[in-house]
Amino acid sequence: MDAKDILGLPKNQLPIPQEKKSRPPKEPQRKPDGISREVYALTGGLAPLMPSVDVSQLKRRPPSDEKVTWQWLPFTNSARKDDLQLFHWVRVVNGVPPTGDYAFAKYNKSANIIKYTDEEYEKYLTDPAWTKEETDQLFDLCERFDLRFIVIADRFPSSRTVEELKDRYYSVSRALLSARAPPADITGHPLVKEPYNISQEVERKRALSMVLSQTKQQERKDTEVLAEAKRITESRMAAKGPEESELPAVANIGPDNSQRAITGDAVTPSTAMPSSAIAASSTLMADNASTLASLRMLRVYLRTYALDQMVQAASASAGLRTIKRVEQTLQELGVNLKPKVPTKAVCAEHLELRKEILTLLNLQKQLQYKEAEGTSFQDSPYSETPGTPKRTPRGDQDRPFMPDPLGFGGDRFGKRDQKRKAPGRTSEAAQSPSQSKRPRKMKASDI
């Protein structure tokens, strides 16, 4: 690994870096032959994923005067200091073995660690927090482990954090750099331009570890809070134009439209709901009638086909998610999604059951929203900070977003409610109303 590459040091410019040829500036790649311009344009000039070998290359026969043999020959690796001799197979052309260094030796890169003299140390590098011995040790280890600071911190004799070690290394390097070169030359140097900031690094790692050590539960809680906040803001937006939201709420309150309807409820909580329920059932009736009419046009049809049509019509106003939940509930009740014996009576019952399940899901949703809305509105009516839902049904909150395992949350709903409310009541006595206005944000950060 080349530290200068990593740091982006200019090559050849400074005295310390050893001679290194800077890479020739990349010239725009030429379009390889054999690929049409249009196709090549699609790659954006990037190298193809598969190495493309020119077909003519493959077909070309080796020149007849070239005699290729493979030989088991010794070699030495210049990257090694011990002159160990190993053998490998080499392609030998016309009896002349290839000369030059071992092909893989060039990959033995090492970081170029700045070296300092005693005088330089005395002059520029003294630090009350570090002795010279410690600094020497650090630089030794940096060289040995190619600036792998995690390893260095592990081997470092006295206990220093990774950040402290890095800070010392980079500040020493920077000081040496500025001492040895005229200031004009180094202003663009990354070590100077972007000095290592220890406090920021420490804070960054702390924050990272906090996120990583978060439990699933906390994570879910956070998303819940965010989702709820979003919902409340949305409902308030809708509440600002109550006339608009009232109409659609009554007109098409399919179960999935209840989001709309509920926002209407937020404005007039007690009146909107019954009317919407009536509207829902009347649209169902209307759907049925039109379905029947279209079936009659067919002159002959299968009972199952009629049932399918009726089910479709009945759930036309419902969203996909709601339809899924209805079917889920049917399965949980042990009822076939498609009746096995679809007689007229069975189909009628089946339809009724589906309708009832729809009603049930609707009621569940209304109950939920009612709880959430009722509490949030009274907490901070129309305040601009949306993030204050404290007493909301935490456990049930994901329900609009996730299908309930069993649609019949009835009991569970109630039980959970009680559990949740009980501790709330005891603590509320101790709280002053002003305290209860404390924004939720603060709570999230004390976790």
Partner: protein, 270 residues
């Protein structure tokens, strides 16, 4: 189990047979059509059918191309004769069969074949002219291999797949109604008292006719039973459960509504 209908628009005229099972429906005369083509508005006649396949593994006699002998059929749900309503059944087999379109002009509407592969059989039902001028298509997937791959297939126990369905004829013609009234295969609505259709029921000679029912069909021991009562019982139980929950939720909601907002407990931290 999907059905599609195609039509070719022909007027219907009278035929004659008998019927008896009853159902409730309203009746009103269609003012536009009189006589034989008069229709019974808002009534419906339905024909419960079962269609499906029974496949026997041939065991030692099985060859590469003929491992199973199977039968596809359309029968009355209680094995009654369907010929009063259904005139012709066309089975559309896989194109690899010889003459893949097989037409059955008389009951029992069934077809036996040998083969090795499963495929979808299209079954087209054609009705008598007074019943309906449109055909009705059924689709059935031929099943040869049992679902649970437990050991070698037995030659004794066939793979049976059947579907129950009802063919519904809305607004049937009076002629069909009269014919269907005493037919055990058909479900006919009960007409209001005083209504009397002058049914010129030609006394059909049943003994003369070939027997069309499948009551002592050789495969009848494998026919499945479709019990409406079981299904209704299950549905009723489910509905009861759901209704109970609805009541509970309604109560909860009304309790919440009754609670004035301000009297609600103050928010509490968890």
């Amino acid at each position: 189990m999907s059905a599609r209908k195609q039509g070719d628009g022909q007027p219907e005229d009278g035929g004659a047979t008998a019927g008896k099972r009853l159902k409730i429906a309203k009746f009103s005369e269609d003012p536009e059509k009189k006589g034989l083509s008069r229709r019974l508005k808002d009534a419906e006649i339905s024909l419960p059918i079962v269609y499906g396949t029974i496949a026997f593994y041939l065991g030692r006699k099985a060859s590469e191309s003929q491992s199973h002998k199977w039968t596809v059929y359309v029968r009355g749900a209680t094995n009654e004769d369907l010929s009063a309503v259904i005139k012709r059944v066309v089975f559309q087999l896989h194109p690899s069969f010889n003459n893949p379109t097989r037409v059955m002009e008389a009951p029992p509407f069934e077809l036996s074949e040998c083969g090795w592969g499963e495929f979808e059989i299209a079954i087209s039902l054609f009705f008598h002219p007074d019943v309906c001028d449109k055909q009705l298509d059924l689709y059935h997937h031929l099943k040869l291999y049992p679902e649970d791959e437990s050991g070698p297939q037995s030659t004794k126990k066939p793979v049976v797949v059947e579907s129950y369905d009802e063919i519904v004829f809305p607004d049937p013609s009076e002629a069909f109604y009269a014919r269907a009234q005493n037919n055990p295969a058909v479900i006919v609505p009960r007409m209001p008292a005083g209504f009397n259709i002058s049914a010129p029921v030609a006394p059909e000679n049943t003994s003369e006719r070939e027997r069309g029912d499948t009551k002592d069909h050789p495969l009848s021991q494998w026919f499945m039973n479709f019990s409406e009562a079981d299904e209704l019982l299950k549905l009723a139980a489910a509905r009861q459960q759901v209704q109970a929950h609805i009541v509970k939720l309604r109560r909860q909601l009304s309790v919440m509504d009754g609670m004035p907002q301000l009297s609600k407990p103050a928010p509490a931290y968890e």
